[in-house]
C-alpha cells in the first residue's frame, strides 16, 4: 500500500477531506471509503461503464481514476441526481419508459445521459448512442434507455395507478424501480458489514491439472492480515453440489485434480488490504498439468482422459424423442436438405459479478447476495455445511442480471464456510475474471439436421443429432439434453421426428442454464434448414412455416395435444404484412444499388415450454392482512430485472380486487417467504403467477365470507384497522381489531401452491412435459457489406404470443432484451477459456448495435396460465440468431453455419458463393 495523501474534493456538492492511498481507484474510494454504493463496478477495466461518474463535468470510468487525480475536483454520482429528495426529470423518465430492468448499469447510464443533456437538452437517437456507448446493458436491448434520454424533457407523466381490478394489462412502472434510479438499491456487493473479512478463491490456471497444497498454516501465520486457508479438507459436509441432485458432481474445492481452468482449489481469508497485496506465487500450491480435451470431438475418443472416472466416453447424459417413422418419411420426401451448425460457449455477462457476504448467527448462517434461486441455495448449503436446513437463511440482495447462471451456487459455500469457522462476517466480490472463468456458460453445440418435405412443402421427416459440450461438471447439462429433443422441432407439426442429443464432458467451465437451455442452439439448425428447404421447393419462407405450423388439436413431437392456446400461426400471420413490404423494399434496394451493400430479410420462430421438463416445480404464495389493514405479499420469485415483483403484484391485486399500490412486497428471504422456485425456464409469470392468483382468490373468498357479501363486492382498504366491502347498496365493515393475529402477524392469511400438470416422458420421449408453451416469430431486416462481411441490423419485427400481457411495457422489455442477447449470439459472442475472459475480448452488443424494434404482442389465451398468460423470458432470444442468419443468406446467398457470424466468417461464406 502506498503512503496515504491528503485528498480534498466535492462530492455531489458536499466538500470532503480525508487521507487515502493515492493509487486507490476512485470507484473503490466512493464505494468502500465514502459509502456511496450507487456507483457500480462491473469490470474494473473501463469495459462496461457501470462505474461512470462526472469529474469536473467530464464523464469518466471511476475504476480507471486514481483517487489522487480526483483531488481538488468536483465529483458527481448517481446519488446527486435527486433534486431535494424528488426524482429528477431524467430519473423519472427512466422509470416511465422502463429503462431500468436489473438496474445495475442504470447509474452509469444516468450519469452518461446527464453529461449529454447538460450540453444538449434534446438529443437525437444517434447523439444518445454516442454519449451512452461506453455503458453496457445486458437486460434491456437499450431501446427503452434511448427513449428515456431522448424524451427526458418531453414525456407525459402518468400520475395515476390503475384502479382496483385494472392492473392486468396495464403498463405500470417497475414497482421496485425508484431505488434503481437513485442508486439506493443494494446488490450483492453493496451491504458488506463494516467488520467483514474477505475471501479470495485460488483457481486453477490450467485446463486440467493435479495439484498439491504445501504448508498452508505457515503461509497464513507468516502473512500479515490473513486469517484462514481453506481447501477441500475443511468442508464439514458433502464437498459436492449440483442443481440436479442425481447428477451432482461439482466440488466446492477440487480434490487433488482441477478439471477446468478457473476451478476453485483453495481459498484465503483475510482483510481486503492483505488479499489485495497477496501475490499468486506466494500461495503454497504446486501444479502438474495433465492431458485435457476442450471440445467434445476429442473428449469422446477412446484414448481421451476421462473427466469423471464414472462417466464412460465422457458422456454425461443423452436425450431422445421419436415419433412416427423418420427414415421412411425422409426416403419418401420429394425434397430434403441437411444442415450442420455449430455454436460456441456464450457467457451470460450480467453486469453485476457475483457477490455477497455471510454472517454466522449462533448455530445458523445467513447468506446475503445475488441469486436466482434462494431455496436451492439453501438446500445445497445445508448439505455442504452439514447443517440442518433450518440453520440456513438465504437473504437475497438485488440481482444485477442472471440469465441462468445465478441459478447454480457460486460464491455462497466459500463465505459460508469461512464465516462459520471464524464466527465473523466474510464477504466476497467476484472480479470479472472470476465470474467469467468459473461460472456456467451456454452449451457449445454441434448439430446435424436432415429434413424433408413433399411437393406442397409439408414436412416429411426430421432427423436431428446434437452434441453439446457440457463442460467439466453436470450443472444443467441433463436439462439441456432433455429440452433440446423436445424443442428441436420448433413450433411445427412433424409426424415423423427423431431427435437425439448428447452432453459430453470436457475440461472447460461447466455449461449450465442460459436463457433457452439449448433451444437457441437447436433453433439455429432448424430455422436455417427450413429456409433452405422452402427455397428448394420454391415456396415462400413464411408460407412454408405457416403450412407446417402446429395448430390446436395437433400432436407435438412428444404427442401432447393442446385444445387451445397454440399461437404460432397467429405470430406468423402478424408478420405477414411486414414480411411482404420488407422483402419488396430489400429487392428494390438491391436492384437499384448494385454496390457492396446488399439488403436481406430473414425470419425465425420459437416455441418454449414454461417450467421444469416433466418434473414438479411448485410455487407457493402467501398473502396476509395485518391488524392495521395492510396487504402483504410474500413474493419469493426472484426478480432479476425481468419484473416479477411487478407482475406478480399485478396479478395479486386483480385477483384480490385491490389497487396495486396498496400491496407491500416481502422478498425472497427464505425465513420469511415460501418457496417460489427458481427464476428460470420462463416459469415465474405462469407458475408463481398462478400461485398468486389462487392465493389472492382464497384471501378474497375469506374476506367476502367474513362480510357475508357476494363475490362481486368491492374491497376497500383504508389506512385504519377496518376493511369495507361494498356490495351494491350494502356495505359490510370488517373490524380487524376484533380478529386473532396468527403466528405470522396476520389477521387473515392465505397460502396457496400451484404446480404445473405435466407427465413424464417415456422411452421414446412421448408425454406431456409442459403444461404451457409460449410462441414467437421474428423478422430481421439487415444490410450486408459484401466486401467486408460486416452486418448492419436495420429493423426487427418481433411477434410474441404471451397469452395475456400482464404488463405490456415489461413484455416489450423482455422482447428487446432477449433480441439483444440473440444478436450477440449471432454476431459477436464467443467465450474461449484462457482467451476471452474479460469484457473487451468477449464482446456483447453495445447501444450502437441494435436494430429499430417493432414489437407486436400477440395474445392467444392459454387455458392453464393466470388470466391466460404464458411465459416469455427465454422465448424472445430463440428466433433472433436464426433470423439474422436467414437474412444474411437472403441478402447474399451465403450460408454461415458456425456462430458467431463475425465479419471474417461472413466474408468467407460470401467468397465461397462467388467461387461456386
Amino acid at each position: 500500500m502506498m503512503k496515504p495523501i491528503d485528498i480534498t474534493l466535492t462530492l455531489n456538492g458536499s466538500p470532503l477531506s480525508f487521507t487515502e492511498d493515492p493509487t486507490k481507484r476512485l470507484s473503490e474510494v466512493l464505494r468502500n471509503r465514502l459509502n456511496f454504493k450507487g456507483t457500480k463496478v462491473g469490470c474494473d477495466a473501463g469495459d462496461c461503464g457501470a462505474c461512470s461518474v462526472l469529474i469536473d463535468d467530464q464523464l469518466a470510468c471511476s475504476c480507471l481514476v486514481p483517487i489522487a487525480q480526483a483531488n481538488e475536483s468536483r465529483i458527481e454520482t448517481v446519488e446527486g441526481l435527486n433534486d431535494n429528495g424528488t426524482l429528477s426529470q431524467l430519473q423519472q423518465s427512466f422509470l416511465h419508459h422502463g429503462a431500468a430492468q436489473c438496474g445495475v448499469c442504470t447509474p452509469g447510464m444516468l450519469m452518461s445521459a446527464k453529461a449529454l443533456l447538460e450540453v444538449n437538452p434534446s438529443p437525437t437517437t444517434s447523439e444518445v448512442e454516442d454519449a451512452l456507448g461506453g455503458v453496457l446493458c445486458r437486460c434491456t436491448g437499450y431501446q427503452k434507455i434511448i427513449d428515456a434520454v431522448v424524451n427526458t424533457h418531453s414525456f407525459k407523466k402518468i400520475e395515476q395507478q390503475p384502479e382496483a381490478g385494472r392492473a392486468i394489462g396495464a403498463s405500470i412502472q417497475h414497482l421496485d424501480g425508484a431505488p434503481k434510479v437513485t442508486g439506493e438499491l443494494a446488490y450483492g456487493a453493496d451491504e458488506f458489514p463494516s467488520d467483514t473479512l474477505f475471501i479470495r478463491i485460488i483457481r486453477s490456471p490450467h485446463h486440467h491439472a493435479a495439484f498439491t497444497i504445501g504448508d498452508s498454516q505457515n503461509f497464513i501465520s507468516s502473512s500479515d492480515g490473513l486469517a484462514l486457508f481453506l481447501s477441500a479438507a475443511d468442508i464439514p459436509g458433502r464437498n459436492c453440489h449440483g442443481v440436479i441432485p442425481p447428477f451432482a458432481d461439482q466440488p466446492v474445492f477440487a480434490v487433488n485434480t482441477a478439471r477446468f481452468r478457473g476451478e476453485a482449489v483453495a481459498a484465503v481469508v483475510g482483510t481486503a488490504e492483505a488479499l489485495g497485496a497477496l501475490e499468486e506465487n506466494a500461495i503454497p500450491i504446486q501444479w502438474q498439468e495433465l492431458p485435457y480435451s476442450v471440445i467434445p470431438e476429442e473428449a469422446v475418443l477412446d484414448n481421451s482422459t476421462l473427466v469423471h472416472d464414472t462417466r464412460a466416453g465422457n458422456v454425461l447424459v443423452e436425450g431422445f424423442v421419436e415419433r412416427g417413422d423418420t427414415n421412411t418419411a425422409l426416403e419418401n420426401a420429394s425434397y430434403s436438405v441437411t444442415v450442420q451448425t455449430s455454436t460456441p460457449f456464450i457467457e451470460h455477462a450480467y453486469i453485476e459479478p457475483e457477490a455477497g457476504y455471510c454472517v454466522r448467527v449462533g448455530e445458523r448462517i445467513e447468506i446475503h447476495g445475488c441469486t436466482q434461486a434462494a431455496q436451492m441455495d439453501k438446500e445445497s448449503l445445508a448439505d455442504i455445511m452439514n447443517l440442518p436446513l433450518e440453520a440456513i437463511r438465504v437473504m437475497p440482495s438485488a440481482c444485477g442480471g442472471g440469465f441462468g447462471s445465478k441459478l447454480d451456487i457460486s460464491f455462497q459455500p466459500y463465505i459460508a464456510l469461512a464465516a462459520w469457522l471464524l464466527k465473523r462476517p466474510v464477504a466476497i466480490n467476484y472480479t470479472r475474471g472470476d465470474s467469467m472463468q468459473s461460472t456456467t456458460k451456454r452449451h457449445p453445440s454441434n448439430i446435424t439436421l436432415t429434413i424433408g418435405c413433399d411437393k406442397e412443402g409439408m414436412l416429411s421427416g426430421f432427423d436431428f443429432k446434437g452434441t453439446f459440450n457440457t463442460g467439466a461438471y453436470a450443472s444443467w447439462g441433463p436439462t439441456v439434453a432433455n429440452r433440446v429433443p423436445v424443442h428441436a422441432s420448433g413450433p411445427y407439426h412433424i409426424p415423423d421426428y427423431r431427435a437425439r442429443s448428447v452432453a459430453v464432458h470436457t475440461n472447460t467451465p461447466p455449461s449450465g442454464a442460459f436463457r433457452g437451455f439449448g433451444v437457441p442452439q437447436s433453433a439455429v439448425a432448424q430455422e436455417t434448414a427450413f429456409d433452405q428447404l422452402a427455397d428448394t421447393v420454391g415456396i415462400d419462407r413464411l408460407e412454408f412455416r405457416l403450412r407446417n405450423a402446429l395448430r390446436n388439436q395437433q400432436p407435438t413431437v412428444t404427442g401432447q395435444v393442446f385444445n387451445s392456446g397454440v399461437g404460432i400461426a397467429e405470430c406468423l400471420q402478424a408478420l405477414q404484412a411486414t414480411w411482404k413490404s420488407a422483402n419488396k423494399k430489400a429487392r428494390a434496394y438491391n436492384q437499384s444499388n448494385r454496390g457492396q451493400l446488399v439488403k436481406g430479410v430473414g425470419i425465425g420462430t420459437c416455441w418454449y415450454g414454461c417450467g421444469n421438463t416433466s418434473l414438479p416445480n411448485p410455487s407457493t404464495i402467501r398473502i396476509g392482512i395485518t391488524p392495521k389493514g395492510e396487504v402483504v405479499l410474500h413474493q419469493g420469485a426472484m426478480d432479476i430485472g425481468q419484473g416479477s415483483n411487478t407482475v406478480i403484484t399485478q396479478i395479486t391485486a386483480d385477483a384480490l380486487g385491490v389497487p396495486v399500490n396498496t400491496i407491500t412486497i416481502i422478498g425472497g428471504d427464505t425465513d420469511l417467504t415460501p418457496d417460489c422456485g427458481k427464476t428460470s425456464a420462463s416459469r415465474q409469470t405462469y407458475v408463481t403467477g398462478m400461485a398468486a392468483k389462487r392465493s389472492a382468490e382464497a384471501l378474497r373468498t375469506a374476506l367476502l365470507r367474513l362480510g357475508n357479501v357476494s363475490t362481486d363486492a368491492h374491497v376497500a382498504l383504508s389506512t385504519g384497522p377496518t376493511i369495507e366491502l361494498q356490495d351494491g347498496q350494502q356495505t359490510a365493515t370488517i373490524d380487524l381489531r376484533q380478529m386473532d393475529v396468527n403466528e405470522f402477524g396476520y389477521v387473515l392469511m392465505s397460502e396457496e401452491t400451484y404446480d404445473p400438470p405435466t407427465s413424464p416422458l417415456d422411452s421414446q420421449g412421448q408425454g406431456s412435459p409442459y403444461a404451457v408453451y409460449g410462441y414467437g416469430a421474428q423478422l430481421m431486416e439487415l444490410t450486408v457489406d459484401t466486401k467486408l462481411g460486416t452486418i448492419k441490423l436495420d429493423r426487427v419485427t418481433a411477434a410474441h404470443d404471451v397469452g395475456r400481457a400482464i404488463n405490456p411495457m415489461l413484455v416489450e422489455g423482455q422482447i428487446e432484451g432477449g433480441i439483444a442477447q440473440g444478436i450477440g449470439m449471432a454476431l459477436m459472442e464467443e467465450y474461449i477459456p484462457g482467451k476471452t475472459e474479460n469484457l473487451h475480448d468477449y464482446l456483447i452488443p453495445t447501444i450502437g448495435d441494435m436494430p429499430v424494434f417493432n414489437n407486436i404482442i400477440v395474445e392467444v389465451e392459454d387455458a392453464e396460465g393466470p388470466y391466460g398468460a404464458k411465459g416469455l423470458g427465454e422465448h424472445v432470444l430463440i428466433p433472433t440468431a436464426p433470423a439474422i442468419l436467414n437474412a444474411i443468406r437472403d441478402a447474399t446467398g451465403a450460408i454461415v453455419s458456425e456462430l458467431p457470424a463475425t465479419p471474417h466468417k461472413v466474408l468467407a461464406a460470401i467468397n465461397r458463393i462467388r467461387h461456386e
Binding site: G49, C61, G133, G848
Partner: protein
C-alpha cells in the same frame, strides 16, 4: 513503494532519474493491466504536468503534448490533415475513455491495435523523449518496436509529439473495422492522407493498424499513388500486394487472411472518400 504527483516536467524527470517508476496519466491502460492487484512499482502520476496538456504550432511543427487527451484532439482546431486523428479519437473506446486517455499514452502502451498509430504515422510524427540527460527525437515508426515495446528507457518519458508542418498538407481520413460499434478493439484500421494539386496526387501517406505487430506505413502504395490523376479509378490501383510486409495474425477477432482483404478494402474506401471530397461532391 512511492507515489509522486509532480507539477513540473523538471521535477518529474528528476524523480525518473533516481528511481524506477510506473507512469500513470489517464489510467485507462494502467488499471486494466493491474487487474485486482495493487501496484508493486513506484507510481509516478504525471497528470498534473499541466504544461504538457497543449496542442499548438510553431514555425515548423505542430505539437501534441504528453497530456493531451483524445477529447482535447476532438475539440481542437486543426488542419484538415488531422481529420484522420480526430476520427480515430472518436473511435477510441468510449466518451469515458476519450476524456482521460492521452494520445501519448496510446503510443507508449504500444498495442498492435493502438487507435492513434495509423493517423500519427501518416503525419510523420516524431516522438520527443526527455530525461535528465536532455531531449531526443525519434520517428514514431522507430519508437514503437513491438507488441508492448518501445525504445523508452528507464529514466525517460515522452513529453511531446512533433508533427512537421510539411506533413500537415492535404486531406486525411481514418476507418476502423470492429465487430461492434463502441468499445471495440479493431480488427483492422487504416489512415490515409492525400495531397492533391491540380487534380493529381502530389503526396500520399497511407498506413494500416492491427495487421502487424506495429502499425505500418505502406511506402510502395504511396509511390504507386503519387503522380496519379485524381479520378474515381484511383482506388482501383490498390491491391493486396501493397500489403506485403504486413504480418497479420489469426486471433479471436479475425483470420490473417481476412485482415489483408479488409485492410485493402478499407484503403480503397478511404481513398475513394478523399477523392470524392476533392472533387467537391
Amino acid at each position: 513503494m512511492k507515489f509522486a504527483q509532480p507539477k513540473t516536467t523538471k521535477e518529474a524527470l528528476a524523480l525518473l532519474a533516481n528511481d524506477s517508476w510506473s507512469l500513470v496519466s489517464g489510467g485507462t491502460d494502467f488499471y486494466p493491466k493491474l487487474g485486482s492487484s495493487q501496484p508493486t512499482d513506484n507510481v509516478l502520476d504525471i497528470s498534473r504536468l499541466s504544461a504538457l496538456r497543449t496542442i499548438h504550432s510553431d514555425d515548423t511543427h505542430w505539437h501534441i503534448g504528453a497530456l493531451v487527451t483524445w477529447t482535447d484532439v476532438i475539440n481542437s482546431n486543426l488542419p484538415d490533415a488531422f481529420n484522420a486523428l480526430k476520427l480515430a479519437a472518436q473511435e477510441v473506446g468510449s466518451v469515458q475513455i476519450q476524456n482521460r486517455a492521452t494520445v501519448v499514452g496510446n503510443i507508449c502502451n504500444a498495442s498492435p491495435a493502438a487507435d492513434g498509430m495509423p493517423a500519427l504515422l501518416c503525419l510523420d510524427t516524431i516522438v520527443r523523449v526527455s530525461s535528465s540527460n536532455g531531449l531526443r527525437d525519434i520517428a514514431l515508426q522507430e519508437f514503437v518496436t513491438g507488441n508492448r515495446q518501445t525504445t523508452l528507457d528507464a529514466g525517460e518519458m515522452v513529453v511531446d509529439l512533433l508533427i512537421p508542418k510539411t506533413s500537415t498538407k492535404g486531406q486525411s481520413n481514418f476507418l476502423k473495422l470492429g465487430a461492434r460499434k463502441y468499445l471495440v478493439i479493431s480488427i483492422a484500421m487504416v489512415a490515409t492522407r492525400l495531397v492533391i494539386d491540380n487534380n493529381s496526387v502530389v503526396d500520399a501517406a497511407l498506413s494500416v493498424g492491427s495487421c502487424s505487430v506495429v502499425a505500418r506505413r505502406l511506402p510502395a502504395l504511396e509511390q504507386t499513388l503519387i503522380g496519379q490523376p485524381v479520378t474515381t479509378e484511383l482506388s482501383a490501383l490498390i491491391t493486396q500486394s501493397h500489403l506485403n510486409g504486413l504480418t497479420a495474425i489469426d486471433d479471436v477477432r479475425a483470420t490473417a487472411d481476412y485482415r489483408y482483404q479488409a485492410a485493402a478494402e478499407l484503403l480503397r474506401r478511404s481513398v475513394d472518400s478523399l477523392v470524392i471530397q476533392a472533387s467537391g461532391h
